[in-house]
């Protein structure tokens, strides 16, 4: 007698969120993507539909970054020009999305205005055809000033804007509702708060299928296991039918990985660890692959070699 196949079946799944709008959808993007839609655990295609393909968003900053040399090298002069930088990411490095991080608006840094931020966003939109993630500097008062302007200026483009937090979500949620964008709800490695932010934003009547969760991410060796187990638990809750846990997940791997001393220490500082040009991208790729396996829908990345390694691994996992 043949053994019956052991299959898990689930009542529900991850929401599908649409990123970007093409011309006939009211935007200017050359491509729009869907993310989410999984009805099983990550890559368990024998149990159920694994949903849309995972997307790699490459980071572009609105200000020249203070990055390690090996991370700067692939970009060269483009790091001074967000439009050229974004173009390179898409055309040379295969980025599915651009994540424009508005670090230049940080009041403790360059303190650029909302208008300057809007100008940068527009040049990046003009330079590439992929959908855009736009991420505020993280200082609530400044984000509340800048992000509504960015939102209004990109109305109809169906961007992904963030982050909304438990203590600061109303302005951004209202902008996303008004301008047709998606929102990132952030909770700092706390699944209870994650659920709460999703609930609060949903209660403002931003549809649940326009929310993406950011649980914050760790790097390999720096708490990645917390992010991993939260994402895993969140996916299980989504599959069991918890509507406030069904949102797709974005991970910030590039920033976290290159904060780790294993990635950022130069060859001179750590000769025993091997060449940084290899070590850094490896650290980033390993962190990304771990989080991908916990259940992620978008990963933010930085080094082209790490992106290539992750895309190759995903090719094997997603078929």
């Amino acid at each position: 007698m043949a053994l019956p196949a052991l299959k898990e079946s689930y009542a529900a799944g991850v929401n599908v969120v649409t990123l970007g709008a093409t011309r006939d959808q009211g935007g200017t993007r050359s491509v729009a993507y869907k993310i989410g839609g999984a009805k099983t655990l990550p890559f368990m295609d024998t149990d159920g539909a694994t949903g849309e393909k995972l997307l790699v968003a490459m980071d572009v900053l609105d200000i020249e970054p203070d990055w390690p040399d090996v991370l700067k090298a692939p970009y060269g002069a483009a790091l001074k020009d967000p439009a050229a930088w974004a173009k390179k990411c898409v055309e040379e490095f295969g980025a599915d999305l651009i994540c424009l991080k508005l670090d230049g608006t940080d009041p403790d840094g360059a303190n650029r205005s909302g208008e300057e931020a809007v100008a940068t966003v527009k040049t990046v939109l003009g330079a590439v055809g992929v959908p855009l993630v736009v991420w505020g500097c993280g200082i609530d008062a400044k984000d509340n000033e800048v992000m509504p302007k960015v939102s209004a200026a990109t109305k109809g483009e169906r961007c992904l804007l963030g982050p909304a937090k438990q203590e600061n979500y109303k302005r951004l949620a209202a902008s996303c509702i008004a301008d047709g964008h998606n929102i990132i709800c952030l909770a700092p490695l706390d699944i209870n708060i994650a659920k709460q932010v999703n609930t609060l934003v949903t209660e403002m009547e931003l549809p649940a299928d326009r929310i993406v969760m950011f649980q914050t991410s760790g790097a390999l060796g720096y708490g990645i296991e917390y992010a991993y187990s939260i994402q895993e638990r969140q996916r299980l809750a989504a599959l069991a039918g918890d509507k406030m846990m069904m949102m797709p997940v974005i991970c910030d791997v590039g920033y976290e990985s290159w904060r780790a001393k294993e990635a950022k220490s130069s060859d001179a500082e750590a000769p025993e660890w091997g060449a940084q040009a290899q070590r850094g991208p490896m650290w980033e790729a390993a962190s990304a692959i771990a989080l991908v396996q916990a259940g992620a829908d978008i990963i933010r990345m930085r080094h082209p070699k790490a992106v290539a390694a992750v895309k190759k691994a995903l090719g094997g996992l997603q078929g």
């Binding site: 898990e8 079946s9 009542a11 699944i191 209870n192 708060i193 994650a194 659920k195 709460q196 609930t199 609060l200 949903t202 209660e203 638990r233 969140q234 809750a237 069991a240 918890d242 509507k243 406030m244 846990m245």
Partner: protein, 263 residues
């Protein structure tokens, strides 16, 4: 906990009147309010409100489907009434409530559930009546499981009801039901079938019905109960059930968990 909302039942005066006068608004209002309070299924029972129960069932199903997207539980002991309801369904998830644990009846209802992609409530009673002990109930549950396997109904869609008797009839029964649920969830098969109770029977003839109902529900949840037919408009019982789900680690806590569990 899957809350099956009990209010659209011809035994209630307002529903009875609505069926007789074809007053859609009353049914639509009940459907919407129960949905807002977290109903996962809306039970529809014609009761004795109409001579033509099949027509009344069709009408109720259409009223409910026009008012909300919530899945439906078709509640009747008569096969033609269930069939009328199934034919009126618009493709949303549906539950058949209910069939006894007699093999020959299961042979009719199981294929019906498979054909309509429905869930099926099966009671642990048979022609001999309601068993008074744990063993006989589990034995009937085993018959139900075997028939589900034979006809190819997915186990999670099989809802076994161990039959709650009023506490005033036999005070030993509630603990028996706990034990039956535990055994159904752990020893019959993997994945196990689902379990359901028609809760309000427990408090028949008592003076503290809501309190007995919600206390009993929380007890049964701790033993693995998946679903209950309850009054979801009773805020206290819904709050208790949702909180039990949090304490049993079945849903994730958040400050607004009482609200989000009803979404």
């Amino acid at each position: 906990m899957i809350a099956v909302a009990e209010r659209i039942n011809g035994m209630f005066k307002d529903v009875r009147k609505a069926i007789q006068k074809k007053d859609k608004a009353v049914i639509a209002d009940l459907a919407q309010r129960q949905t807002e309070q977290g109903a996962r299924y809306l039970d529809i029972n014609v009761g004795t409100a109409a001579a033509d129960q099949e027509a009344a069932m069709r009408w109720l199903v259409e009223c409910v489907q026009g008012a909300c997207k919530t899945p439906i539980a078709l509640d009747s002991q008569k096969l033609p009434v269930i069939q009328a309801g199934l034919e009126a369904c618009d493709g949303r998830p549906v539950m058949i409530n209910s069939v006894s644990g007699d093999a020959e009846k299961l042979d009719v209802y199981m294929p019906l559930a498979v054909k309509h992609n429905a869930s099926l409530v099966a009671l642990t009673l048979n022609v001999e009546g309601v068993p008074q002990n744990v063993e006989k109930r589990v034995e009937i549950a085993m018959t139900i499981v075997a028939k589900a396997m034979e006809h190819g109904l997915d186990m999670p869609r099989v809802f076994i009801d161990p039959i709650i008797l009023p506490v005033t009839v036999d005070q030993k029964q509630p603990l028996f039901i706990c034990e039956v649920i535990k055994q159904i969830k752990t020893v019959l098969c993997d994945p196990p079938p689902s379990t359901i109770v028609g809760l309000s029977n427990i408090s028949q003839g008592t003076t503290t019905r809501p309190l007995i109902n919600r206390t009993c529900l929380v007890m049964l949840q701790a033993y693995g109960l998946d679903a209950a037919i309850i009054d979801v408009l009773d805020t206290d019982i819904m709050d208790a059930a949702i909180t039990a789900d949090v304490l049993l680690n079945r849903i994730i806590y958040s400050d607004s968990y009482l609200k989000s569990a009803r979404m």
